[in-house]
Symmetry: C2
Amino acid sequence: MSHQKLFNVAVVGATGAVGEQILNLLESRNFPIGQLKLLSSARSAGTKVSFKGQEYTVEEATPDSFKGIDIALFSAGGDVSKALAPHAVEHGAVCIDNTNAYRMDPQTPLVVPEVNIEEVGGHNGIIANPNCSTIQMVAALKPLYDRYGISKIIVSTYQAVSGAGSRAIDEMLRQTRAVLDGAEVNPDILPVGSLPVKHPIAFNAIPQIDKFQDNGYTLEEMKMVRETKKIMKDDSIDVTATCVRIPVVYGHSESVYVELKNDYELEDVKRLLSEAPGIVVVDNNSEQQYPLATDAAGKPDVLVGRIRRDLGNKRGLNLWIVSDNLLKGAAWNAVQIAEHIAAGE
Amino acid sequence: MSHQKLFNVAVVGATGAVGEQILNLLESRNFPIGQLKLLSSARSAGTKVSFKGQEYTVEEATPDSFKGIDIALFSAGGDVSKALAPHAVEHGAVCIDNTNAYRMDPQTPLVVPEVNIEEVGGHNGIIANPNCSTIQMVAALKPLYDRYGISKIIVSTYQAVSGAGSRAIDEMLRQTRAVLDGAEVNPDILPVGSLPVKHPIAFNAIPQIDKFQDNGYTLEEMKMVRETKKIMKDDSIDVTATCVRIPVVYGHSESVYVELKNDYELEDVKRLLSEAPGIVVVDNNSEQQYPLATDAAGKPDVLVGRIRRDLGNKRGLNLWIVSDNLLKGAAWNAVQIAEHIAAGE
């Protein structure tokens, strides 16, 4: 009987929406944990969290928190990752970062395990988890890229409010009840907590996620553009995105138009997708079966459906891609990377 | 002083969501009505409706209902239009039909006044109002088509539940309250009332509007494809659509990618749109101003924003187009046509 190696794990942002899902997954996946350290901002420090029947007290994350830590999972915002991940690395930890802080850093691998797990080996202490909306799209497109090549991607997203955090969910539910009761709606958080103008999300669609850039795109849209090219290792893919927040709690949906570099047969595309890891094809029009956010919620899979030819361009293809933004879009992707490291692969 | 000519007007489907808006507009626009006849199915006959302070009793629509009628506005479903519009024409009425019954009939003009009002002159008794999702898109694209030409349109819609009728709105509000209260959601109408499988619309996004066609597209998607080509009088435009129902009451939003035939300057596009009839440009990123369904609701305008270049294709352009699906998307477009006829233009 072999003795399994155990890892000292720190979860930074343990009380947040993603941190909570990371802990659920570490528990349900029976991750080989030696010591577990739950970290957060000063504001949430002191919170009690239960893990495998044991109670843990969340501590304030400081540079010294990472002594003896082997794997640190960060999801407490980009500023926290920027400030603390280098200290964790100094102490010998491998950091898996869920924020935008290191994604486009050339030294940092940007990893979706189904797409480019081999990149993990080249890390310098930090491995970045891509943006939620990017992860599910590249997971679905990778098998098509490998088989046909991709020249262009045009994506419009239908993103869940949980992507903006627990407080945004509370705001949406509060606003929704106000509308149903004929009361006043006073937007307070969305679209972007740190910006002055607020818009109602209840019974609405807001075409702004994150701040506007000088080129007229939002940061969320530019994340999809840049991260897709980096993960696919192909700057020649022409990506354009429109990112929209809609009144959904969990599960991002995406309408993706892709132009392949070579001719394809629709049945081959469906077969490639159905054989791809992490992908579940839900595509049966006569039974009215297609991916739905409410079905994707709580599942690790990326659901793909509405697979159909562009009627005008024989290399054009439409897809509807849905996944739980807190799971494959964040926590599950990070834990997959952690499992890969733990397995010493 | 001239005596204004008066018209005997019939509104078929007077108790429906669109019929109600038609009556509001005929009243607020002070349409030159002689006799007003409110018609409906047998089920709704007998309903009392107030118009300009006078009470009208809705009558069951029959072939003889149209004697003496000059203008008949139909919005009671395609079957009713197919059965009764020919009788109205026989009686000498001009029919403005809000349903899908005659849109693709080569003898029937398909009219968006801002785009092709001149087509009205060629009618044989019936003028078709396009589908709501098509109207707002072509109204916004026409000025760009005229100036640059259009080779390709890729549209993803975010459509309001009111497009599926008043009962669908009730269903969404009921489901939403059930979710908030932790009660069970029992979908009964959406996505398509006449089909067996139902999906929840509360906090969800359903990528099916109307029935699936053999080519894998829904009828709603194919309406956008075919009607756009017919209205623009250009079969060479390559259109592909993904139509999605989201939890919004009034106002369809559309993420539209358009490839122009010629190079463009972004400022020229913005100027052309801001000068176009029926279009209001809402596009100020630094002030976080862009079209929102909640702002479009109740207004006749088509709002256009998020106007930005495709970063990869210099002839590619992204737009976010929003309008009230019951107004410009249905009732207002029909009343505009009626006003054109009444003016004898």
